[in-house]
């Protein structure tokens, strides 16, 4: 669609490239002029880059509202790669799904940018490198731009650019303090882990893309394959089921990588090495939802591959429960949230896998609100503890830790407690977010989670039970976290001296808290505005026949009641264990006190959960170790010993030496020199023989002449006869 066409449609559709351009320009300004602008200027440019992108997204949303029957616009169509069989274009897709994603990415993104202005100000000073403030905003703006490319792409290849771009930003930001962490390399290793694990998923994505080209290109009009979602969707029904199954399953591998699902989820908990705004934006609210978006965007091809759909649902459902169990036994405030993110992503993936695309996207949006809020509040808590510790060092408190003690881990929940009086705002927003994620009515999470559960109850009972147990665990670990962090008494001096964060940090928290409270209104059951809004997209392709979207399930009071009862029950149980029971445990002698009341109750199971089922170790044992062994084998034995020492040194170099030795020895010295020496020696010998004739006696010469004359004359005379 050209600019004039877009103008004729009315609305602001022609503005869509700006959602990418604004953050990109912000990034470039910060790269080239950020050094001279100072911290405030850098922060302003960074926030504007994201904020203007949000403004454009809102304008696009308003424009779409002007088309109540739904509209899908592919704008720009800039040529990218052009050949006889492949025509890739840089085209921005505007429909209700992409605009929803844009609003979430830029909206939550802008709030987190604003939060980061305050948070990073402290963080860079704490880590003694204020110069990295600018770098943070450069990466952050780049991330927004790449995420916008991802969600606004109208074909798989452009989406892949965004897909890889956000992976890059994730890597850069996880290892933002790359020289810090365990042994001074922990953060860099976490970045590597995230990047490499994602490579496995991206490999799946690429294989799927190759398969699409291999099998769909010959069917395309004029043989020109564009990778457009619409083209792939319309061609997919013409190829064998098995091909579509392969494509969708390989896409699923990509999804499990990016959205941190079993089996590729292991990178996400380690990704918490990044600064907290990164965890909130990239590893909770936006990037990790890209996999959910991909499945939703590919709904037409998933719809004709029920087996793949089933696997998506299973991956999501199992991840939801699995990660939730791990979250119960973690002590790092951000690790709990990381496993919670995997679990919640599991809900979304399960939803889109079952064909409940709207429910999945609804939960995605709600999750973006409350999980971003949880992470940002956790960041506020962490900095509160750090401030408390700093204060202690200033006043020279007698309780000051000795030099030999291990430094206090400001992220360990065992070092917190009683913070609700010190950090009132943070406490309240955290409580709201926790209630939202636990699914307590009327907070945002209740509506979205309940919709997924209702759909699951209707579509796939097995997944329903997995998700229901996960819902119980979700409420339980959130209750545990809230009580450990904010209730009870301060367990360390630092926690006792913690102070509330500044307004620039708490303001975005309050906005997100409001969204977490009222967000559910977006798809309030009787009105179902989001269902109608997204319905355009999910029915537009393939004439609605194979849209893959299940019929909306009416609000199910039994499911809603069950999930609410379970959530409340879990919270009460958490309160009992971590408040009452912990207080009772305080009376025990010091040696018998467990750090977690679940530890004595669950015994070895708790250790199993605390160590994350030793999945990292298992992967290390079955994949990384053999891989390293193989690499070592290839490097040491194969390359060095066989290739270098044998093939290279002995066969090649040795053979060459042998050949040159033959050429220089036998051939050159023997044969060539032999010829010349033979000639030389021969003539020398000849001369030696001939010189004997040269006696020097004149009479010999005379005789020779005489004989010669006789011969000549004899010859002449005899010839005449």
């Amino acid at each position: 669609m050209s600019l004039s066409d877009a103008m004729n449609l009315g609305g602001f559709f022609y503005l869509v490239p700006l959602v990418v351009i604004f953050p990109l320009v912000g990034m470039l300004i910060n790269i080239f002029f950020g050094g001279r602008m100072g911290e405030k200027g850098v922060a302003l440019v960074g926030c504007l880059g994201s904020g203007l992108s949000f403004v454009v997204s809102v304008l696009l949303g308003i424009s779409l509202l002007g088309h109540p029957d739904g509209i899908t616009i592919s704008y720009a169509n800039w040529n990218w790669i052009n050949s006889d069989t492949l025509h890739l274009r840089w085209a921005f897709l505007v429909d209700t799904l992409s605009v929803t994603m844009m609003l979430v990415v830029s909206g939550v993104g802008t709030l987190i940018h604003i939060y980061a202005v305050g948070y990073m100000h402290n963080d860079v000073r704490l880590n003694n490198d204020p110069g990295r403030y600018r770098r943070f905003f450069v990466y952050f703006n780049l991330f927004i731009a790449e995420m916008m490319v991802l969600v606004s792409a109208n074909n798989y290849m452009m989406l892949f650019i965004g897909w890889e771009g956000v992976g890059l930003c994730s890597y850069l930001l996880i290892s933002f303090w790359y020289e810090k962490g365990k042994n001074g390399i922990g953060n860099a290793l976490a970045g590597n882990k995230a990047f490499i694990t994602n490579r496995i998923g991206d490999f799946g994505f690429l294989i799927a893309a190759f398969l699409m080209y291999r099998y769909l290109q010959p069917l395309a009009t004029n043989g020109v394959f564009t990778y457009d979602f619409s083209q792939v969707a319309s061609l997919a029904s013409q190829v064998p089921q098995s091909i579509i199954l392969a494509i969708t399953l390989f896409l699923l591998l990509g999804v499990t990588g990016k959205s941190a699902q079993i089996p590729l989820y292991v990178w996400l908990p380690d990704a918490m090495a990044g600064p907290t705004p990164v965890s909130a934006l990239i590893h909770a609210a936006t990037m990790v939802t890209a996999g959910v978006y991909l499945v939703a965007r590919s709904h037409a091809i998933y719809a004709i591959a029920p087996i793949a759909q089933n696997w998506v649902a299973i991956a999501g459902g199992v991840s939801a429960l699995f990660a939730a169990t791990i979250a119960v036994a973690q002590f790092d405030i951000k690790k709990v949230l990381a496993y919670s993110t995997i679990s919640q992503l599991g809900y979304m993936v399960a939803a889109v896998g079952m064909g409940a695309f709207v429910a999945g996207i609804f939960h995605l949006v709600m999750h973006a609100f409350f999980k971003a809020l949880l992470f940002l509040s956790a960041g506020s808590v962490i900095q509160g503890i750090e401030r408390g510790e700093e204060q202690l060092e200033h006043v020279g408190n007698p309780h000051k830790r000795g030099k030999h003690e291990a430094p206090l881990d400001p992220q360990d929940m065992r070092n917190m407690g009683g913070l609700r009086h010190k950090m009132k705002t943070t406490f309240w927003v955290y409580l709201i977010a926790a209630l939202a994620i636990s699914g307590i009515i009327p907070f945002a999470g209740f509506w979205s989670k309940d919709e997924i559960l209702a759909e699951a109850n209707h579509l796939n009972p097995a997944i329903f039970w997995l998700l229901l147990i996960a819902a119980f665990l979700t409420a339980f670990y959130m209750g545990r976290q809230i009580i450990m962090v904010f209730f009870g008494t301060s367990r360390t001096e630092a926690a006792a001296h913690a102070t509330e964060s500044k307004a620039i940090v708490t303001a975005p928290l309050i906005i997100l808290a409001v969204l977490s409270i009222i967000g559910g209104a977006l798809n309030f059951p009787p009105i179902n505005s989001l269902t109608n809004w997204l319905g355009h997209t999910f029915q537009a392709v393939a004439g609605g026949a194979a849209s893959g979207e299940a019929a909306p399930v009416p609000f199910n009071f039994i499911v809603a009641a069950a999930s609410t009862v379970i959530a409340v029950g879990a919270l009460v149980l958490a309160w009992y264990l971590y408040d009452r029971r912990t207080r009772e445990m305080q009376r025990l002698p010091l040696g018998q006190r467990a750090d977690d009341p679940l530890r004595p109750a669950l015994g070895p199971a708790f250790t199993l959960l605390e160590n994350k089922y030793w999945i990292d170790e298992l992967y290390g044992y079955i994949i990384i170790k053999p891989y390293q062994w193989l690499a070592n084998f290839l490097g040491e034995t194969f390359e060095t010993k066989i290739w270098h020492d044998f093939i290279h040194d002995i066969v090649l170099v040795g053979g060459f030496h042998l050949q040159t030795r033959f050429l220089s020895g036998a051939f050159d010295l023997g044969f060539i020199d032999g010829i010349t020496n033979f000639l030389g020696d021969g003539f020398k010998e000849l001369g030696a023989q001939l010189r004997k004739i040269e006696t020097g006696f004149v009479r010999n010469y005379a005789l020779a002449i005489f004989i010669g004359v006789i011969i000549v004359i004899g010859y002449i005379l005899l010839r005449a006869i």
């Binding site: 006696f697 009479r699 005489f706």
Partner: protein, 100 residues
Amino acid sequence: MLPVNYYLALAIVLFVIGALGVLVRRNAIIVFMSVELMLNAANLAFVAFARFWQSLNGQIFVFFIMTVSAAEVAIGLALIVTIFRTKDSIDVDQINTLKG
């Protein structure tokens, strides 16, 4: 007039004597003389044939040979004198400086 065969026979005898003298004798002077004998044998053959054919060509050859041999004798004797001065001998078997 004697037939030419007699002259030729004499010339052959003279030449053979000269050749044998060159090959056999060691005294440089004798060798020299033998060479002269061979030259004169040739001269005699020339003159005999000139008479026989009533042609002056042979006579003229003889003149040339006589002048050349005169020059040769001059050089040869000079060489012999020089050799004698250095070697105190004119034995040709003593002179083999040109041995290879």
